[in-house]
Amino acid sequence: MDVPAISTEGLTRRFGELVAVHDVNLRVAPGQFFGFLGPNGAGKSTTIKMLTGLLAPTAGRIHILGLDLIAKPLEVKRQIGVVPEGMALFGRLTGSEYLNFVGRMYGLDRETAAKRTAELLEFMQLADQPKKLVTDYSHGMQKKLALAAAVIHGPKILFLDEPFEAVDAIASGTLKAMLQRMIARGATIFLTSHVLEIVERLCSHVAIIDRGRLVAQGSLEELRAGVEAQAATGGPAAAAEGATQSGREKLTLEQIFLRTVGDLRRADQELSWLG
């Protein structure tokens, strides 16, 4: 049996009284395009920070490619690429200097780092303005640069926190093409996103976290089957609608998500002054 690319056991993180992530057991197989979803404040970013070593867990274990992250952080970090929430850029470098720097921090020799830098800048359409500092890039350009930095060393796993947020359609297309190419080469991608359409189109597997607890995990088909089964047995809010829907067409990820986190009722609410 394959060693999972990512696995956690009882992963927990507390901030004082607040339990941001509670007893999360994740399992992501190698080569999966894995979407990690959840409402705002559910614990997505906290989880991804723990998985990438940016935040210490209060309890639980994390294994990346079979290696314990706490015991062997450097070995793990060599094999992963990260685009964290704030993108982790150095504003006063040019794009080329930044990628060169990142490549060498990941152990590439000078020539390889320079060559990959040039290729990535070209691929990401960032090569036109070589003297421009990162701080002067637009948000979309920064996102592309952050992704380029995350892949420069050819990681086996890529962690992306909201990679498509505030990115235009053209840049988004470039990013998607690149991610799909990485999957085709056997890499594993773990991403969080609020854009469910993109997740549905890209990801083969999904996990949903709500109020710090993992409430669903599996392939899209498995999740769909689960929700439909729940609807058939007269599950909570969505039962009636879910049953009729399943007879006609497949549930979208958005419908699965809303039913899983139990927010259908809220979506149906009306505001008195909006009629």
Binding site: A88, F90, F101
Partner: protein, 549 residues
């Protein structure tokens, strides 16, 4: 004047803004940091009250004296002092100034008159306005005591003068804010500001050099400049009162009449800026670049630093590139040389180095080291969000910190060479024993500063933001700690040097410093060894502080 008409909902909006400010204040008290901030505000408030009342009494007394002695023309000295303080203090002490992010209000349906008023009032709640107003009140009362007939006229003129000051301060702030919004303008302004500060420091030495006895040229220039100052607001206000006190009513009214257009002109410039903000100007630099150029696309290899592995060389390169792109930091390199020049200009009798030129190199070196603390004591401040990369990368923190320290040492080495050359030219080439002893002293002081700086960088980080007022310095804790550290390190170094001088040989200082340097190197190595654990333990604080907007 249509723009002065407020929208019907303006009153409710003002109330909402005032309420939200109060709520923010109350909420800030929920954290320890907020309570400490309140305590420091109370402390500052007491200090301001003291300075305000004391200053008002002093200014009032001086005004009373000038009017009583029939020397009303001297009032211009008082008004120029108030004017300079009112305009310069907010720029120099930015940490005490409230700076409003206008974008917070622009998304609401706030009319332009309301926006203008909010900007004016919000920004005016600062110590400079409070102190300036109190001092002008003191001057008014002083004049009233000396000549009660002048009281109403003085009150009217000084009220106009206060309004001019208030508007000018807001206008300067609004324009500086606009220039700071763009990196290139920011860098140019940084250079000008630095030159301004340096030129201020030259006033003392130049006064010493040229002001010992009256020089006809200087006296002539001063005499010719005196009428010129009467054309500016402080001179106009003083002259308006002085002429009235001499019974020259029409002249007094004339000077007052010239003061008012200043207010109008400043108001117009302020209005120009605020209206541009209100209309949603775009200061983004992203659009300012023209996509072009396929040249410069040849592979650019990173630096290779002899004997050091790739990550250290890469971080070293990154640090020096950062340094080369930071105007204020670059200027710290030339400050010691400038400082030596100032001391040299201060005259032969008055300063320590004139009597002991053999100590010029050690003193210059110590000053250079002192400036190095700007870089070292908040190692990660300039990295901002990049700190996340350091934690996510497969490189031990000790290597990152070592590379940063190597860059600091390289900058300091260059600075020391500059100081040595400056000492050679301005004083005399330092003797071999002094040079060796100074280098030995540096071997002691530099690792000690680096070690302590690394600790403070981990335990008291602060994001440096060159584009925001009050975010260009390390945290207050770091500043306080650095005072103590420098006191200890430089105190020890001074004692050793003075003892060696007392016993007639600087060679004596060298072995003492070398013994100390063994200790400081050991301390540095110990800190470096443990820094991985410390950084990991503090990663949440580091990331949250350095990644904040």
């Amino acid at each position: 004047m249509a723009w002065l008409i407020f929208a019907p909902e303006a009153r409710g909006q003002f109330a909402a803004i005032a309420r939200i400010r109060w709520q923010l204040f109350v909420n800030s008290l929920q954290t320890v940091r907020g309570r400490v901030e309140l305590a420091s505000r109370i402390f500052m408030g007491l200090f301001i009250a003291l300075a305000g009342v004391g200053g008002a009494i002093g200014f009032g007394g001086a005004a009373w004296f000038f009017i009583s002695q029939d020397e009303a023309g001297w009032l211009s000295i008082l008004l120029w002092s108030v004017f300079l303080f009112w305009q310069l203090f907010p720029l120099m002490a930015t940490a005490f100034t409230e700076n409003l992010d206008s974008s917070n209000f622009l998304r609401f349906p706030l009319g332009y008159p309301s926006y203008f008023l909010v900007r004016l009032v919000y920004g005016s709640l600062d110590p400079a306005t409070a102190l300036g107003s109190l001092w002008l009140l003191g001057i008014t009362i002083g004049i009233g005591f000396a000549d009660p007939r002048l009281l109403i006229w003085a009150a009217l003129v000084l009220l106009a003068f206060a309004i001019v000051n208030l508007l000018l301060a807001r206008m300067i702030f609004a324009w500086v804010e606009r220039w700071l919004a763009q990196r290139r303008a920011r860098e140019i302004i940084g250079v000008l500001f630095f030159l301004f500060i340096l030129s201020f420091q030259l006033i003392g030495p130049l006064m010493n050099r040229y002001g010992e006895k009256p020089r006809p040229g200087v006296v002539r220039v001063s005499r010719e400049l005196s009428p010129a100052q009467r054309l500016l607001p402080p001179g106009l206000a003083a002259e308006a009162i002085a002429r009235m006190s001499h019974g020259q009513v029409s002249a007094g009214l004339g000077f007052f009449a010239v003061l008012c257009p200043y207010g109008a002109a400043i108001l117009w410039l302020l209005n120009l800026r605020l209206r541009a903000q209100y209309q949603g100007e775009n200061l983004s630099e992203a659009v300012g670049y023209i996509a072009s150029r396929k040249e410069n696309q040849a592979l650019r290899l990173g630096w290779s630093v002899l004997g050091f592995p790739g990550p250290i060389a890469a971080t070293f390169e990154k640090e020096l590139r950062y340094l080369s792109r930071s105007g204020p930091m670059l200027f710290t390199l030339i400050t010691p040389v400038f400082w030596l020049l100032i001391i040299r200009l201060s005259g032969k009798g008055g300063n320590f180095l004139a009597r002991a030129p053999d100590l010029a190199f050690p003193v210059g070196g110590a000053y250079a080291l002192l400036l190095l603390t700007n870089l070292v004591y908040n190692n990660f401040g300039a990295d901002g969000g990049g700190i996340q990369f350091f934690f996510a990368s497969p490189v031990r923190f000790r290597k990152i910190v070592l590379a940063k320290n190597l860059a600091h040492v390289a900058a300091f080495g260059l600075e020391t060479v500059l100081v040595w050359l400056a000492v050679c030219m301005m004083y005399r080439p330092p003797a071999v024993d002094v040079t060796i002893a100074t280098l030995a002293g540096i071997l002691f002081a530099a690792p000690a500063n680096l070690a302590l700086g690394n600790l403070l960088s981990i335990y008291s980080p602060k994001k440096l933001d060159w584009g925001t007022f009050g975010r260009q310095r390390a945290s207050r804790t770091t500043v306080l700690a650095s005072f103590g550290i420098q006191f200890g390190i430089f105190g020890l170094g001074t004692v050793v040097f003075l003892l060696a001088r007392h016993y007639g040989s600087f060679w004596l200082a060298t072995p003492v410093f070398l013994v100390f340097s063994v200790l400081s190197f050991t301390g540095y190595a110990l800190v470096l060894k443990r820094i991985d654990r410390m950084a990991l333990d503090r990663r949440e604080t580091l990331i949250s502080e350095l990644c904040r907007a």
